[in-house]
Amino acid sequence: MKGSKAGLLWSILLGGILPLILAFILKYLMPEWKWLNEPFHSVLEALGLFAGLFLAVLLLFQEERGEDTSHYIWISSALIGMGILDGFHASVRPGNNFVWLHSMAVLTGGFLFSMMWINLSSAKSRTARGIITFAVLVAVIVGTLSLVVADKLPAMIVEGLFTFSASVINVSGGFLFVVAAIFFLIRYRNTARTEEIMFVFFCLLNGSAGLLFPFGDPWKAEWWLWHLLRLIAYFIVLGYIFSVFRDLTERKKIAAELANLLQEVKETVRVLATSSSEITATVAELASTAAQAATAVNETTTTMEEVKQTAVLSNQKARSVSDSAQRTLQVSQDGKKSLEQTIEGMSHIRGQMESIAETVVRLSEQSQAIGETVATVNDIAEQSNLLAVNAAIEAAKAGEQGKGFAVVAQEIKSLAEQSKRATAQVRTILSDVQKGINSAVIVTEQGSKAVEAGVKQAAVSGDAIRMLADNIIEATQAATQIAASSQQQLAGMDQVAQAMESIQQASVQNVAGTRQVETAAQNLAELGQKLKQLLERYEA
């Protein structure tokens, strides 16, 4: 049982018991009060007519709600039929057909309401239209006939009191209304909708009015009460249904928007699914790339370490080159000094050579003088020899007395010959001396030339050594610079190594982060898939 007992009780109380109590109270409090006012009654009935018609139209439109609303056709047709007959009832003067039309209206309404028990499962377009048209036609025909053949109608009111037939009709109608109310009660128990309660209230009110008809008199207080209550019921139900209708239109609008939204969401989800799968693929690629990058960074770090060691080695080499260049510079400067000394010594030797040459030349001249002297001596010896010969000749001429003289002459001649031999020896020696001098001169000349060449060579060597020294200075500077720059290089290498360390750490983090992103993307893709499936299920 869904519907609350309180609602049920309240509807029964308001629709059945309270009106009954009010009617009895009014009947016994004001039994003589009578207010005959046709226009007011007509207005009330007309208002009831319009309210009923409006309610019927609203209910017909309620069919679109898609819920179990097949019974609305019966409600609508009942309201229309009842309304039309009430309209006729309102438009006639009080009289027999006046009551008749009202009674017919109650009967029609009760009948059509009670028809709800017949389930019209497929009661849509055609059947519905048929029922409504039938109800309209019946109401109009009954109304028209009532007007046309008013005399032929059974007596409804005699001397201000309702007849038995009138009471039967009305009680039947009321009974049918109560049956309808039971239908609504059952529905309420199943659906617990306020609407059902409203209709219970409406039907009970009408049923009560129909059932109590025989006890009432026209124009009296309770009579007016029933009219008023019916009208109030009309308007309460109308108001509620109208509000429901409005809610419905609102809901329809919202549903349309929701459908749009759903469509958009579907589109978005589709995009999301595609994107997430793309992201997953990209992230997977990224992850592999990051892993590769990490490997590359690792390798690079190793290479960096090697390069650093090479740099250390080259730094040491550069330093040793610089040191050896310094030593070489010292050596080259020493070489330069000693070469200068050599050049000095060479020029000294050249001077001595010149003095030797001069001495030798002088010696040659002196030996020439000796030669001349020797020639003179030789000449003298020659002449002495001749003189000795002449003396010998003279001695021979002198005969025996010249013998001693001849011996002396012979002796002189011998001496002269010895002198000549000695001079010849001296000449030979002088010749040797001359040869020696010549050799000495030549050797000295050669020596002088050699010294000259040596001086030149030494000068060339000096230039070479000077250039060498310059080059070595440059080389030393270059080596120093190399050492300095290799030191800087080493420092830079350290920094690069540190940077590589950071990069490595970052890449490791990168890889981890990429893994996380990958997981997240996969989750996202799964989520998208799930959303898609959900939406598909919703659509289905």
Binding site: E382, Q383, N385, L386, A388, V389, N390, A392, I393, A396, K397, A406, Q410, K413, S414, S439, I442, V443
Partner: protein
């Protein structure tokens, strides 16, 4: 020269002290004469004494010799009898005389006396054997004639035994044979001074002059 350089090379380390010693010795020798050569001098004197003592023996034989002046001419040894030799003279200036035969190279001035000079090499048509000194003049004379003969060197006087002289010489022909007295075993050619002095050829030339 290469020998010298080799020597230089081999004697690279010169012992200067030794050199100085040697030079000092030479200097002393020059200044104080042949101090060291006393023994050598003695040796020389001994040799000389020996030769002198040896030569004294042949001089004892006086019989059958002639006295000659020995001289060199064109790498041959000649001799001429001292009897006809006035003196030997060192020629200083030779004045050529135009128009004279080729064997008369010129005239000389000996202490104011003008003498004509004869080149017996030319006169005898001897073959030329290169240039020689020809600066000695042997002046020969007799009662009629006086002239000089050119010689390369005057060796001196000596005695020649008659027994040593070979009269005829098969190699000598023509003109030369007239002026030869003989030849010794040592190929010493002994000129006939008398024949030269009395030669008509020379006189004729003189006369023609």
């Amino acid at each position: 020269m290469p020998e010298m350089t080799q020597k230089e090379k081999t004697a690279r380390n010169i012992d200067w002290r030794l050199v100085h010693d040697r030079i000092e010795t030479a200097r002393l020798a020059l200044e104080y004469g042949s101090i060291r050569n006393k023994e050598e001098e003695r040796e020389i004197l001994k040799v000389r004494a020996r030769t002198l003592s040896q030569e004294q023996k042949p001089e004892e034989i006086d019989t059958g010799y002639i006295e000659v002046v020995e001289f060199n001419l064109a790498y041959e040894q000649y001799a001429i009898e001292s009897l006809y030799v006035r003196e030997v003279y060192q020629m200083k200036e030779l004045t050529p005389v135009p128009g004279t035969p080729s064997f008369v190279p010129g005239i000389i001035n000996v202490r104011g006396q003008i003498l004509s000079i004869i080149d017996i090499k030319q006169f005898f048509d001897l073959p030329e054997k290169g240039l020689t000194d020809l600066n000695k003049v042997i002046i020969i004379h007799d009662n009629t004639m006086e002239f000089g003969i050119l010689a390369d060197a005057v060796l001196g006087t000596r005695h020649i035994m008659f027994s040593e002289i070979q009269q005829s010489l098969p190699g000598l022909t023509g003109i030369r044979a007239q002026y030869l007295k003989g030849v010794t075993k040592e190929h010493l050619i002994i000129l006939d001074a008398e024949a030269l002095l009395s030669d008509k050829n020379i006189i004729v030339h003189e006369g023609a002059n």
